[in-house]
Symmetry: C2
């Protein structure tokens, strides 16, 4: 019999939930705003509503559930039953032992894990990493998160905090990261890193034009918001400044990926997150730029052994990752001794 689980992706904006079978197929989804600004009680209420809705739907479908999986920013403590910290965009959320509450309400095993880690697990099982045993995934968004699959199993480290790949110092002594370290990779290749690169390149380009004949601004997106999407799109149209920016993005991204390939010698390296999605939408310019720079930052042996690919699971990656936690019995809530 094919098992089923509820998978819920708790994000800063949306609570995305779904009923997933163990082949990674989504039977249905349910999304509501997470309303994090209304405080942790409201988040919990919304989380429980989502689970209740999906649990009711499973009953209507005659599907029996193996458990509920939740992915959330931060570090999960499955004994406490909530997050131990590291989720700055969910203020107060570390005070809520939601796993315990859900287990009591629904009478099902409840698993939870970090969102990016779980996303990597989902990609490993049902996405770009299917069938591979050693996988590193990097997600480029507000920050840079990571997920590591080692010999086929999710690697979480000693307290579930493994995969903080955005906090390798690649420009040691450089820009101060939110974590306090000077020169974290995240300061150079996350969205804010990329936009900083872009602003600098645009300023250089403008200075170069001062006094020159050409009166037009070199940036075609002028006036519009500067976003990864706008940069990749302008590059796709052939804008010189945008092409230069994309090349720099490729270099700064390859620096960290190369180091991780040297450390892990993975079969596959998956890139995901908002930046990768924006690059993908613009014809694969991002992947191409990273690949162009990767040989400068990677040992030849390990480079030859690895495939660099884009994530395949899209919007539903978190939901599917959450369900895999259930199917594989990862980070199941268990009360500690009193």
């Amino acid at each position: 019999m094919v098992r089923h689980a509820i998978g819920i992706d708790l994000g800063g904006t949306f609570l995305k939930g779904g009923i997933v079978n163990e082949r990674g197929e989504l039977l249905e989804t349910h999304t509501i705003p997470s309303e994090v600004h209304k405080g942790p009680e409201r988040i919990l209420e919304n989380l429980l509503d989502t689970a209740r809705h999906l649990s009711d739907r499973a009953k209507e479908r005659g599907v029996s559930l193996s458990g509920i999986g939740v992915v959330s920013p931060g570090v999960i403590d499955p004994v406490y039953g909530g997050i131990a910290g590291g989720a700055e965009n969910l203020p107060g959320w570390e005070k809520v032992p939601f796993m315990r509450t859900m287990e009591g309400l629904f009478g099902l095993p409840v698993s939870a894990h970090n969102d990016v880690t779980s996303h990597a697990l989902g990609e490993a099982r049902f996405g770009a990493g299917r069938g591979k045993r050693n996988i590193v995934m990097a997600s480029f968004g507000t920050g840079i998160g990571g997920g590591i699959i080692v010999d086929g199993a999710l690697y979480s480290g000693s307290i579930g905090y493994a995969g903080e790949i955005g906090h390798i110092a690649v420009h040691a002594g450089g820009r101060t990261c939110a974590c306090g370290t000077k020169g974290c990779w995240e300061e150079y290749a996350s969205i804010r890193g990329i936009l900083r690169l872009a602003r600098a390149a645009i300023a250089r380009s403008r200075r170069a034009q001062t006094g020159a004949r050409q009166a037009r601004s070199p940036w075609p997106g002028e006036g519009a918001a500067l976003t990864p999407e706008a940069i990749f799109e302008a590059a796709r149209r052939g804008d010189d400044t945008a092409l230069e920016i994309v090349d720099e993005i490729g270099r700064e991204t390859a620096v960290g990926i190369g180091g991780l390939i040297n450390v892990f010698n993975p079969e596959i390296f998956i890139i995901g997150g908002g930046v990768a999605a924006a690059g993908s939408a613009a014809g694969g310019l991002y992947l191409e730029a990273v690949k162009r720079h990767l040989p400068s930052w990677t040992l030849e042996f390990s480079l030859r052994a690895v495939e660099l690919v884009e994530a395949r699971l899209g919007y539903e990656a978190g939901i599917i990752g959450a369900s895999v936690l259930v199917f594989e019995g990862i980070n199941v809530h268990r009360d500690g001794l009193p």
Copy 2:
């Protein structure tokens, strides 16, 4: 019954061998020069001599052997039965399928693996990492090598090349490493990195004294060779320049260790190799300096969860690591299909 194995550590200078039982105890050792400058045939001859001597001794002791383990620089290909590359200080050695030859001669299973990786495995089982499940070891010598133990098992990556931690770019765009990458950690925290730091600090200190009253050189080891030992020893005696150098060594070393702790969230991080040994001999100054800088480069959560310690296995680390390969059936030579 307690099993026994022959463990052999093939280094650029010595071939160190021993008979080891599965409790990690050395029954006896045998060391000869490896004579790498005399070419791969001579290395093989010496390797076989070492194995033959120890195999004879095992017979005399009435000890039956479970296998032979060999640790070597480079990447082992257990199907080919030799190294696939990456051992620049053993010229021609990649042409010798020594595992195949040994298996034929001795009629025993032959395991082989990278030396630093195996050293980490030895430390995990019988040294500083005993009883821990998630371990990273860094060895600071001519370069920086690494070994990774994940959920209790040695992690070798997809083709045995995992653990090349010296080739994370921590000063991306900085000094060119032998591997071609600009800014590898190895260029800053290996012996050559350290000596470069030291020479710069000594030069600064001399410039600061030009025209000043003090006529003496600030470097007490003046005239003697500049080595990690001399630096740590001078620092132990309270020399200001040496103390400053040790502090810089601590910072450059902590940069990489911090990144690795963020990625792996290990229970224990072991530092070994010639630099760690020199620091240890001078009263633990190296470990102390690294610990002082580590909070600047590590996430608080993962820093709290990790112990930073010195390697415990000394001269015999490679021999013991080689024997563990046998006991755990790691990288055993197996002919590929024709």
